[in-house]
Subunit: 330 residues, 2 copies
């Protein structure tokens, strides 16, 4: 630990845009070490400049390709871009889905782009908490646009994509029924709809379906914003200008309108509650260990039932936790 730089010392370097410091601080935030919290508090107070864009879509919708194209366009305008890719890996292996593999070749060598994959294994709510910490760090480090990319399959992933100023939902033609049904759950959260792979012949129908759904439900639209449906093709480049324009217009909505203010409030509430849930689960995990085995045996022997034993475990844990040193509250 001789070379360990205290997290509060890293803050200064992060503010100067030092990518190694950014990377280190994100790792510590992801690991959830208590030492990093005062640094993150300092970081948080300095945030507020970056435009945070959530991009989500079902597997196979081509969202990673789209992110690559969007980033190239935004870079042409000279903006520094951060990408936080949230990976729904299993708890059993640390698979990386949105991984840097493919994209590294296109945009990964550009020093104006910072890409970070975060795996979802770990504590409940921990993924949302860590992703939002990473966004803060990138904001303070001077990244103008920060993209949070998630696979829109679980509740957590969808929620994280919504914890942004601007949410883009990517659909694609020709996916299976099961995928389409997953998609249905995400449609309402979009500020901007993209139908990718518009070079395909069956894309027109996906576009029409989506537009008529929006007319019926008027989802997400209001006086300040009308949700657009944009067809894009990574091959021909079709629709990309229109998409960049929509992102830019929604950035103004996010920062300058009552609608944007309401959105920021709901993101702040989400963040407060997700962080609290994560901390609560963490405290519980720390405190519970000594009774878990005993209660598991009782459950197995059916001398107790799940609810009664779980209540007993909670009560015991919180009692223990209150008696211990209260390092969580500093």
């Amino acid at each position: 630990m001789a070379n360990y730089i205290p997290s509060t010392k890293l803050v200064e370097r992060v503010c100067a845009g030092d990518m190694r410091a950014v990377s280190r601080l994100i790792s510590r935030a992801e690991a959830g070490v208590a030492e990093v919290r005062s640094a993150l508090a300092e970081i948080y107070r300095a945030t507020g400049r970056a435009h945070v864009v959530g991009i989500t879509g079902v597997p196979g919708s081509g969202k990673s390709t789209l992110v690559g194209k969007v980033v190239q366009r935004l870079r042409a305008d000279g903006r520094k871009i951060g990408i936080v890719a949230v990976d729904p890996s299993s708890p059993y292996s640390g698979g990386a889905i949105l991984g840097d593999r493919v994209r590294m070749s296109e945009i990964g060598t550009d020093p104006g782009v910072f890409i970070r994959s975060m795996a979802t294994h770990g504590a409940i709510g921990g993924m949302a908490r860590a992703a939002m910490d990473a966004v803060d760090i990138l904001d303070v480090a001077g990244y103008d646009t920060i993209i949070i990319e998630t696979v829109g399959v679980g509740q957590d992933e969808v929620e994280i994509a919504r914890a942004s100023h601007t949410t883009i939902v990517v659909s694609a033609p020709g996916l299976g029924d099961e995928i389409q049904a997953i998609k249905a759950g995400m449609l309402e959260i979009a500020d901007i709809h993209v139908v990718s792979k518009c070079d395909r012949s069956d894309a027109a129908r996906t576009l029409t379906d989506l537009k008529s759904m929006l007319v019926l439900g008027a989802l997400g639209s209001g006086d300040d914003w009308r949700v657009p449906v944009i067809g894009t093709s990574a091959i021909s480049g079709e629709g990309l200008d229109e998409l960049i324009d929509a992102i830019t217009r929604h950035r103004r909505v996010a920062f300058e309108t009552e609608l944007g203010q309401r959105r920021r409030r709901s993101v702040a509430e989400f963040r407060l509650l997700k962080t609290a849930e994560a901390l609560l689960a963490e405290r519980f995990v720390k405190a519970r260990s000594d009774r878990t085995a005993e209660y598991t045996e009782q459950l197995l022997a059916r001398t107790g039932d799940p609810y009664a034993l779980a209540c007993a475990l909670i009560d015991h844990s919180l009692k223990t936790e209150q008696g211990s040193t209260d390092d969580e509250n500093t």
Copy 2:
């Protein structure tokens, strides 16, 4: 509420196999009403006869079709079958993916089959808790085999499929890269591997890949069990006999070996902790409301940071909770 039958009264009817009582009690368990807990405690103590089979696979792997075929075969042996399908719907709309729609036509009219879809919206860990309660209720109601079906995409879904005696992971040829990467996270949890759609010409390669992966890693196999890889076709019926045989053999492993005993212990521990997490989150949600708005404004104004405010919210909530009537612990 004149017609409200107390949950403890429903237990008797559940034990007699009354499907309406089963359905009602599952609904109450899913809603998480406190009134149902003593009934569920009684139910839990009477469980232990059913063989619980978890089936998971990525979207498009054809697992729902496979479940239909497996159920038909098991029904031919006279067994009563319960299916608990866990739906990863978004919190914003109550979409049903694994829904009963398709299957109802084939097996839904058979009185020996009980199908129940559960949506994943709701409290953290609530899905696992509710799914396991539903399994208990079906066990006590006399269902011989209970299938927990999940889309293997999020950590929660994969964990739930593992909370069983026998876990089947369904793969299929010809899915996209992103889907394949999601799949990688699930391979280690299988007691039985199925490669569906084996009538396709590219299925042989998927089978070979999977087999060589298993040889390399020896995942899941031990003295008592060797993880089989079974190719099936819903069209030709190929592999279905072999799959039913594997399920039957693994049932014996689950109930009669040391390996099975270890598995039951780890499922019991998972259940204890998931139930505790769900109850803890519930308590927190109940108690927190009066400070949330205030702390959200502080977060928005950046006069406080997420961790400090979340800690304050937790402390305030738990203090309030301890002062209130303790109806959770009965």
